[in-house]
Structure formats: structure tokens, C-alpha cells
Symmetry: C2
Subunit: 230 residues, 2 copies
Amino acid sequence: VTVDREDLIKSSWTDNAAAWTESVRQKRIASRALVTDAAVLAAVRARTPSRVLDIGCGEGWLCRVLQGHEIETVGFDGTRELIERARAASPGLYHVLTYEQFADNPEAVGSGYDVAVCNFSLLGEDIGAVIRGATEVLGPGGVIVLQTVHPCADLPDGCRYEDGWRMEEFGALGSDFHTPMPWYFRTVGSWIRAFTAPGLDLIECAEPVHPESGQPVSLLLTAGRAAKAQ
Amino acid sequence: VTVDREDLIKSSWTDNAAAWTESVRQKRIASRALVTDAAVLAAVRARTPSRVLDIGCGEGWLCRVLQGHEIETVGFDGTRELIERARAASPGLYHVLTYEQFADNPEAVGSGYDVAVCNFSLLGEDIGAVIRGATEVLGPGGVIVLQTVHPCADLPDGCRYEDGWRMEEFGALGSDFHTPMPWYFRTVGSWIRAFTAPGLDLIECAEPVHPESGQPVSLLLTAGRAAKAQ
């Protein structure tokens, strides 16, 4: 039996939509509350954008925060149950759209974005088409901001540092998460290669650390076509 | 008393020149023999260069290997005792030149290089001037290849993931090394920032792993002005 891990990712989000929304809104994920929420927000705001696309926006927290800074947002996500919660929580524009649908027709979400942001939302193996799609809807000088778990953080004992599938059990998030999620691990170099493959220049490679342990929490990349002109 | 760590780096190489030369030539450094020698050689040869500058060439092993592939080499190093050993071992061109002297007048080593390579040779805090100098002596389409200890490898317990000075005791290399060497640790992002600061594009970010443990051994970056034209 071949299990399509990309399908398992989708079904896990549907199953965990309520628990996930609670976790985010109650700020139960320590690394987000302490480090990565502020880091991605700062990386997006550093571009002083008028218009931001949130790729894999989930229940919409980042769109809501950006809206609070007078930034126009559009969010999309493949999980209907999360988009319904996003729509109920703020008046921003949200689309139910899978990554395959987005890649087939990026302008379904509009265009002319100053920033397209992927915050812990690229979880599968095939991310090239989404990144290419994001590149196509950027306006002049636009950039993509991508945050992911730092590849050197919490590498399990005996686990090789190489691209491959792993399983997230959500153990740290409590018993309301019923469905584990496969996710595709990438090395730093692999993230950079995937991210710059559509002809983008890497503008920034930041690695926010945990304020207490000093260990890297996330990898936060910014890339765009316009690096030379800045 | 202010100790200038950059001076301590220089004096440690002078003191350890004989022991270092033996270690390299007897292939006593396991990570080099297993992983990083072949990795840097492959990264340089991938550019099919005619002419290579070896920055901080030490006793000259990389120049000798490249010469064996019909590549013209020029090596320089601030440690006279190492350059003397390099000159005695192969007929390539070697200069005694500190990084400060190189930065002040890069063309002292010639120009028109297809590759300038820094193999574990940028050890101090101020590396911007050397990288700028290397950029100035590249020919059209030329690149800089930089290999360094992977920032996520062997991070000591309790050591924060942030730029700063550390001390190498050479304990793994035996009792012939009498003088420890301060070296400046940089994060992945910090290496990339320093490396691309003179207006270079990052072309490749490789992370060779140990064949048995699967853990990252080195960070191996390639950057150049000509990424767009390739």
C-alpha cells in the first residue's frame, strides 16, 4: 500500500483544525510565543509592505497582526476548516486553495504583493511549484519570506542530517491533537536551493535563537529578484 | 591587558607549523581525510578553473592536488614557516602575505582567477577585507569557494548559537600542538552575510556530512558576481 504523505499532511490539518486553532490563539506553542511570531513579523515589516500574501495562513493569526499594522492581507490555505476560522476572526480576504491549485493559477489570489510569506507552512516534499507561484505574484521589489524549523534544532539522536520524511506527533501540544503529520525535513542548503531555484537572490538568512538556551529555533529566509537594486 | 586574538591566531600557526604540516601530510585529521578535502576539491573543480588562488594555503596540500589536475595555482599565507614547507613540496607559486597585506593590495597575488578558495582559513573576526580582496582578483565568471566548520557541528553543551570567539586546543591532533588558537565562531547566517557583503550572489550552500554519523561536518559556500549569467 502506497501512502501519499502529501495527502496525510492535508488530512492531519483537517483533523487537527480545532486543536490547532486553540493552540495558536491561546499562544500555547512556546517557540512561537517567545521567538518565531515576532521574528516573522519583523522580517515582513522590514519590507514596509502595503500588501502581503500569507501562503498557508491557517487560522489567520499573522494576517490579523499585519492588518493591525495597516497592511492589506490575503491569506490562503488548503484546509477549509482553518479558513472558516480565519474568516470568522477578521475581515481580511481568505481563500480555500490547495498548493496545487495555487501553483496552477497563482493569480487566483491576486498579484502585486510586496511580500509573500510562508510561515512554517511548507511541509511537503514538492515545494518548488508553490515558490514559483509566489514569485509570479510579487510586485516590483517584492520578496518572499520563509520561516521553518531550524534544521539543526532538535535533530533526534541518530538522525542523519539529510533531506527526508519525518513524523510530527504534536506531543508537546497536548492530547487534543489526534492525527500525526508527516513532514519533509530539509537541510539549510536544501532550503536555500529550493528557495532560490526560481531565479531569486537570497537577501537574508536569519536564525532566531531561543532567548534562554541560545539554540537556533528557526531559519528565516528572505529572497527576491531585486537584491541588486536595493 | 588586552590580548589581540588576531595576533594569537598568527603566533599559534607559527608555533604549530611543523605539527600541522605533519598532521595534514599524514592525513591524521579524520574529517579532512573522510569528508572535507574531497568536498572542497569537488567544489573548486566544478568550476573547471584554469587558475586558482588558495587563500591561507598553509603547507600547500590543496595547491598540490589542483596542480595534479593541470590547474595553475597561486597560494598565499601569513605564516612563513608554512609557505617554506609549501615551496619545498611543489613548484607552485607561493607568497608569504598576511591577510592585512592582501587586503591592502590584492593584486600582489595577481588577478584573473577563476576560483579563489578559502579552506578553513578564515579564522578571525574581521574577514570582510579578505573577501573583498578576493572579489577584486576574480576574472569574469570567477567565484569564491569557502569551507568552514559547520556551525551546527559539535556545538558544545551550553554554548549559545551566536557569533563569538572560541578556543581550539587541537586536542584531537595529539601532543605536538603546543599552542591553542582562538577562532571566531559564526552562525550559518553570519557566514552567508559576510560572504555576500561585497555584492556577491550565493550560488551554492553545501553541507557535507560525515559518512557514518550523517552529521554535518562543514559548510561549503560558493558565491560570485556571475550567478545570473549562468
